[in-house]
Every structure is written in C-alpha cells, then in structure tokens.
C-alpha cells in the first residue's frame, strides 16, 4: 500500500513537471500559429506516448524475468533520479539559474511570430512544434511510468497517475490561458528526484539479491534519508557558493 501511494505520487509529480514544460511550448505555439494545429500536434504526441506504454509495458512483464527487470529498471531509475536530484540541488543552491517559464515562453512567441504562416489549412510549424515538445517532454514520463509501474507490478496505477497529471495541468493551463510559472517546479523536481532515487535503490538492490529489512517499509527510511541529505547538500553548497575561495582572495 505504501509503495503504491508513493508510486502514484512520484508519477503524478514527474508528469506534472514535464507537462508544465510542454504546456509552455503548446501555449506559445497555439497563440502564434493557431490553436487547431497546435492542439492536434499535442494530441498526436500524447497518443504516441500511450502507444509506447501499451506496447512495451505488457511485453516486458511477460518476457523478462522479474529480478532482471528490477535490476535493469532500478539502475535506470537511479540514473534518472540522480540526474533530477543533482540538477534540483544545484538550482536550489544557486549554481544553476532557475527555469523561467515566462522567459522561455516570450522567446518562443517571438521566434514563432517571425515565421510566415500558410494562408489556409493546418499550420505545419505549429503542429510539428507542439508534437515535438510534448513527445520529448513525455518520453521521460513514459520511462518513469514504465520503470515504476513494471517494478512494482502497478503499471495501471502509474499510467492513471500520469494521465491524471496531464488532465490537471492541461485543464489548469487552459483555464488560466497561460503558462504556469507559479508552479514550484524545482521543489517538485527535487521531490521526484528523491522518490526516483529511493525506488531505484530499492528495486535495483532487490533485483541483485539485497534483502531489505521491513521489505516495502524500507522505502520510507530511504525517502527520509535521501530527502534529509539533499537538504544538507543544499545548505552546504549555498554556504560554499557565498564563501570566497582561497584562490579568489587577494
């Protein structure tokens, strides 16, 4: 039960973060190139992502032994989670600039406005831009849905959580009719990173024969430990950024 709730939360948050990024592209495209082509491009991309999950999910469950699947999937989750966590920690500590959806949106609108439009019918630029944006942002979500869903045996829960995030972020985006800059993207990325690293450690370990004390409950202390250490890392990095180094003094 603990694992299932955590999986749903991790997939929902990961998908919401990626959806906010995709939404910025679709909004910019819709506003400058027309909504019809942009929404069609986004729709076709979502369809491709659903087909990917439907094609690979059941096939992997049936043909790959669970221990092998968990070791491979756990490793992938670890790499992906560590990438997210690293970037979020460096952003929180001020080493990387925060992602500015407003700025990205402005630049995208400016760039697209300069491309001449076809007089009638679908706009190919709008379609392709939305399609590529949603597909590329969504591939990471597909990877997370497949890895988390397959390792836990809850592919349906993971898929539903991703679908719910698409609906919620999409609906809010359409309702407010602009990109969602107020979403605390970095905090969500940090949270997802901690969850992916915890699941990756747990399943990667199970796949190669690690016996976790308390079975699924180990996920809780892994989550708490990684979250606590991430906070410590942010504080240490912030301090080191503000402290002049020996070579920089004088």
């Amino acid at each position: 039960m603990t694992g299932t709730v955590l999986i749903a939360l991790a997939v929902f948050a990961a998908c919401a973060v990626e959806m906010v990024e995709a939404l910025t592209i679709v909004m910019a495209s819709g506003l400058t190139r027309g909504w019809r082509s942009s929404l069609e491009g986004a729709g076709v991309a979502v369809l491709c992502l659903v087909v990917l999950v439907a094609a690979f999910g059941p096939a992997l469950i049936h043909y790959v032994p669970l221990d092998v699947l968990r070791a491979v999937v756990g490793s992938l989750l670890l790499v992906l989670g560590l990438q997210w966590l690293r970037k979020a920690i460096l952003r929180a500590a001020g080493f990387i600039a925060q992602r500015d959806e407003d700025d990205i949106y402005r630049k995208e609108v400016e760039r697209l406005s300069g491309i001449p439009r076809q007089s009638a019918g679908r706009d190919a630029v709008g379609f392709v831009l939305s399609f590529k944006g949603v597909l590329l942002e969504g591939l990471e979500v597909v990877m997370i849905v497949l890895t988390l869903g397959l390792s836990s045996g809850h592919l349906a829960v993971a898929s539903l959580a991703a679908f719910a995030a698409v609906l919620v972020v999409g609906a809010v985006g359409i309702a407010v009719s602009r990109q969602l800059r107020e979403v605390p993207e970095n905090a969500m990325k940090l949270g997802v990173g901690v969850m992916l690293v915890s699941f990756g450690t747990f399943w990667g370990g199970e796949g190669v024969g690690v016996g976790w004390p308390g079975a699924d409950l180990s996920l809780l202390w892994l989550l708490a430990g990684y979250a606590g250490l991430s906070w410590v890392a942010i504080q240490l990095l912030r301090r080191s950024r503000l402290t002049p180094h020996l070579g920089e003094v004088g």
Binding site: L78, V79, L82, Q83, G205, V210, Y226
Partner: protein, 70 residues
C-alpha cells in the same frame, strides 16, 4: 532513412548519460558490486547501496559546483 537507428542511439545516450557520465558509470558500478557481493556472500548488505549512492551524488554535486564556479 538509414540514419534513424543512429538518431535513436544518440537520443538514448543523451537521455541516460548526457553531461553526467559519472552518474551512469557510478550506478553501473554500484549495481555490479551489489550483485558480486550477493553472489559471494548469499546476500548483499542492505546499507551498501544507499551509502554508495550518497557518495556518488556528493561526487557529482562537487563536480557540478566546481564546473560552474570556474
């Protein structure tokens, strides 16, 4: 048309390795060492993975921070 396998391979490499090769290599080493320990002793100690992951993240953060300080 014949270039799409190359494009897929490049995308996968960027996706998994990207600009943090130390993470991909480190994870492979951690999982490999856990497997070797579990083969040798019947089961790998549960603390090994989390401790190794924390060390790996610390190394990668240090690398990232010093690269951006320069």
């Amino acid at each position: 048309m014949s270039q799409w396998p190359l494009a897929v391979a490049r995308f996968c490499y960027e996706f998994v390795v990207g600009d943090t090769p130390e993470l991909a290599i480190g994870v492979a080493v951690i999982v490999g060492a856990s497997w070797a320990l579990s083969r040798a002793a019947g089961t790998a100690p549960f603390w090994f993975g989390p401790v190794a992951v924390v060390v790996l993240l610390a190394v990668s953060l240090r690398r990232g921070a010093s690269r951006r300080r320069r």
